[in-house]
């Protein structure tokens, strides 16, 4: 179905890293990899969902592909008409061009647009924000806010601007008389309608909507969503729809890209993704939606562990610290649950998050009801295991031996040997090797070692790369 559609925007290898600096000289001491190389294509007239937990970098992806923040690396190819460049080069730019420092970019790469090109491009791409209150200047009437993009793009006729804005307010379900009212006089849902009007006013080609309904009541959410769908149909808009809410995504999106820790792990048409999710992370996300449909239940997946920090993302598959289906080494034969727990234990030990004192405390807490006698080493051992949901005896002898030794080392406060011991036994291919995006179906790609794709694709946008 995507073959007969023209692409609007292709994102290739987009990265946005935030340097972590220290001291007055702002020395870089680390990087937060908010977006770490994502690829997708937005087709004309479609709604592409970008879904993930908060903090996975989806909003950063949006702002950096629109160059509201400068991306660190990557290309954002705009397939429409390239806006003309009227900037004269500054001496610095000339110098850089002469010295060849400027990396060559394609002419239709948004990342390489000059200031004047960017300004013209802004007319074709608009954004809608999550917080309806914060996205309006409290000192401007909503009409002025809606009409502002017109003014910015050079429509100097005040009366015409006002007419356009009033007409548009009318069409998003408000009143033309609301032009002179101030944002605080509107409810959240009404403000999102105004936000839609502001996004539409310059007749853009595509709209990036960053969690546009998350701050609204559920009853109002569907109103706004259906308005968005209406407007999209009427004006042939393409839309990048960012949300953490799978339910909302299902309602409005044609295709969905799932993001985890700055990377895209799965892309599929919405129906396909909900029916047949390939990536364990997607499965977990789907399992977490409350749904009245019994067929959707019973995936039985729950995520354990914290979301890792993007300044030091896990190696290999980034999901391996939480993946319920993480792959066991060949020499182990544990129930999947136990292997997951053992891995969690290992990560905590490696991170220095458990120690002998902690174990003693846990033991004391467990015995608080029958607080007689000293806490024996055995108590502490059991407490530690219980904390990680590890049974007293693991099903696999090798694993059991390793865990028992590690627990003892922890109780002796020798975390290092405990960690060594555990990492010898509980290692996984998911940690060592980064899974490639594999195609499982015509429009379906996922990045997981468990997925047996028909072919390995370079990027999620290979459909475009082919022709």
């Amino acid at each position: 179905m995507s073959d007969d559609r023209e692409p609007v925007l292709s994102v290739r290898g987009l990265k946005k890293h935030y340097p972590v600096t220290k001291g007055i000289l702002r020395r870089e001491v680390g990087r937060v990899k908010a977006v770490d190389g994502i690829d997708f294509t937005l087709y004309e007239g479609e709604t592409l969902g970008l879904v993930g937990e908060s903090g996975c970098g989806k909003s950063t992806a949006a702002t950096s592909l629109l160059r509201l923040e400068e991306p660190t690396d990557g290309e954002v190819i705009y397939h429409g008409e390239v806006p003309e460049d009227t900037n004269r080069k500054t001496p610095m730019e000339k110098l850089r061009a002469i010295r060849g420092e400027e990396e060559a970019r394609e002419p239709n790469d948004i990342v390489g647009f000059s200031r004047s090109q960017l300004k013209r491009f802004r007319r074709k791409a608009q954004m809608i924000f999550q917080n309806p209150t914060g996205s309006f200047d409290p000192r401007m009437s909503v009409g002025e806010s809606v009409a502002e993009p017109l003014l910015i793009h050079g429509l100097d006729d005040t009366a015409e601007r006002r007419e356009i804005a009033e007409d548009l307010l009318d069409r998003v379900g408000l009143d033309a008389d609301d032009y002179d009212r101030y944002p605080h006089e509107f409810s959240g849902g009404q403000k999102q309608r105004v936000a839609l009007a502001r996004a539409l006013v310059v007749n853009p080609e595509f709209v990036v909507a960053d969690e546009p309904v998350s701050a609204l009541d559920v009853s109002i959410q569907s109103e706004i969503l259906s308005l968005m769908r209406d407007l999209q149909d009427r004006f042939g808009l393409s839309m990048l729809f960012i949300s953490h809410d799978m339910g909302v995504i299902r309602e409005i999106c044609d295709r969905v890209a799932v993001m985890y820790l700055g990377e895209i792990v799965e892309v599929a048409p919405t129906e396909e993704l909900f029916r047949n999710p390939q990536h364990p992370y997607t499965q977990a996300l789907l399992a977490s939606i409350p749904t009245p449909d019994p067929r959707q239940r019973g995936l039985g997946i729950e995520l354990t562990g914290d979301v890792p920090s993007p300044d030091n993302p896990p190696s290999g598959c980034r999901f391996h610290t939480r993946c319920p289906k993480v792959i066991q080494p060949d020499d182990l034969d544990l129930p999947q649950e136990q292997f997951r727990r053992a891995l969690d234990f290992r990560h905590q030990v490696e991170g220095g998050d458990v120690d002998a004192d902690g174990a003693a405390e846990l033991a004391r807490a467990r015995r608080s009801d029958a607080a007689t006698g000293d806490i024996t080493r055995d108590d502490r051992r059991r407490a530690l295991r219980a904390e990680f949901d590890l049974p007293d005896e693991l099903d696999d002898p090798t694993a059991e031996e390793s865990v028992a030794a590690a627990v003892d080392s922890v109780l002796d406060d020798d975390l290092e040997s405990a960690a060594d011991r555990l990492s010898d036994t509980f290692s996984t291919v998911c940690e060592r090797e980064k899974p490639a995006l594999e195609r499982t179906d015509e429009d379906h790609v996922a990045a997981c070692h468990l997925v047996d794709g028909t072919e390995t694709v370079e990027t999620a946008t290979s459909e475009v790369a082919d022709d």
Binding site: M127, S135, D137, P149, H153, I164, L168, D170
Partner: protein
Amino acid sequence: MATSDADERARFEQVDWDAVEPSGGGFGRRSALFLASLAVVLAAFWYDFAVASPDPLFYNVGLAEGLEAPFTWDVRGIDWLFSVSLLVFVFYVLYPMYENLDRTKAYFAELTNNRPATFALGYVTLFFFGGVFGPLLAGQPSPDIPATSRPPVSAATPLGRVDLFSLLVVGSLCALATWGLLDRLDRERELGSFGDVARVLLRVGLGFLATFTLVGTVFNVFSLSSFRTAAGIAAVVGVAWGLRWAVLSGRSFGFEQLRATALVLAAFGLVLVVGIELLQVVVYDLLQFDPIAGGASSTSCPAYAEAPGRGTTCYGTWDYPLGTARYGQGLIPLVFTGMRVSLQVALICSMLIVPLATFVGTVAGYVGGVVDDLLMSYTDIQQTVPAIIVYMITIHVYGRSLFVLVVVFGLFSWAGAARLVRSEVIQRREEDFVTAARSAGAGHWRIMGRHILPNVSNTVLTSVTRQIPNLILAEAAIAFLALNNIMLPSWGETISSQLKYIPDGWWMSTIPVIVLSVTVLSFSVLGDALRDVLDPRSDS
């Protein structure tokens, strides 16, 4: 929606963007008017500077052309600055208030919920008009040797003689006390009904004052007619305005109001009698101090003003209602010229502080990074240098003048405000509406000018209002340290030069002290109230 008339409206799909060429954007109407007025002032300045007096001492405008008073006016540097700052005030404070009348009214209503702030606002308004027009009405405080050390005019009351000034002070205190008392005893009915009468009276008074100020100034400057005519016109206008409001407001004025007025007046009379009696007992008898007659030897006393049985002392006359200073300068002109000086200090310093603080704060907050570090380190350093030290050094080079004083204090008092602006900008910069404007294609200048600045203007206004009392006090303090231009009759100068005639010439310094304190107090109260009303953190 899809009616025929909707079809004729401009719609966004119909805009032919290829045909639209972004223009540079012109000035708004306000800026154009401001620039035109500024050009007029600058042209006049150039005329004064280059034609009327080529030497740097600005000489009397008009003398060279053979004109006579009142068309000659020795315009000094400070006066030029003052006119510019008045323009700025009119175009960038009053005009926006008028433009957003609804918002102004909302703020005003909120402000007047706070009683002290209402009084402070009233006084500050009087202060502004007094400072602008007062010296024109009351004239210059020139020495009048036959009338040296005249005390305020006194009046015979059934309780004995009281001088006008003490009567005014005791009267206002008694009015406050009456109001407080009634408020406590019977706030529901009597004060409520009297409130309507008081509102009419207030309008009569305001109408009178405003008209008298304007008409009197015109009459005075062009020697058209006497103050009496001006007062007559003003009285007619005031009464007319008051009655018009009474009729238009749709309130009924009947027996209820009459009764309340009578009651309030009776209470006030009672309290006033007690107040005057207290004055007599405490000041006259207990302190053995006779404030009615001038104790300092008056060189010549009009016959009718002599105090019988009081030796060489004499009573005040209506020529000088509030008395005269040591060399016969009338205290009313002294108060008004002092008011002009204080207003100049307040306005000109603000005109310097506001743009500096806004610019530095906005740039530091918006740009951030190294620029922020540098600017804020500089403000820190500057904050450690007291403006008064800089002033003391500067007067050695340029001589003592109000000009140097306002410039130095204006240039060295913006650091605190800049810090406030910066933190406000940092907060605003992160808000979605700024990102929204950027995604709409707005440049940095537009964002700073249209989105950030309007949102920090409240912060600047509040912080400057709270700074003004300090500046006025600093001027007085400098006069007290004898570091000022002694030819300029500011309040501080009057106070410090007349203080040595206490207690016999008590009115010479007490009157300016009281006006100065009321001014400083009013600005502080107003500043605090403004912060409560305008503080963006409290309204979200």
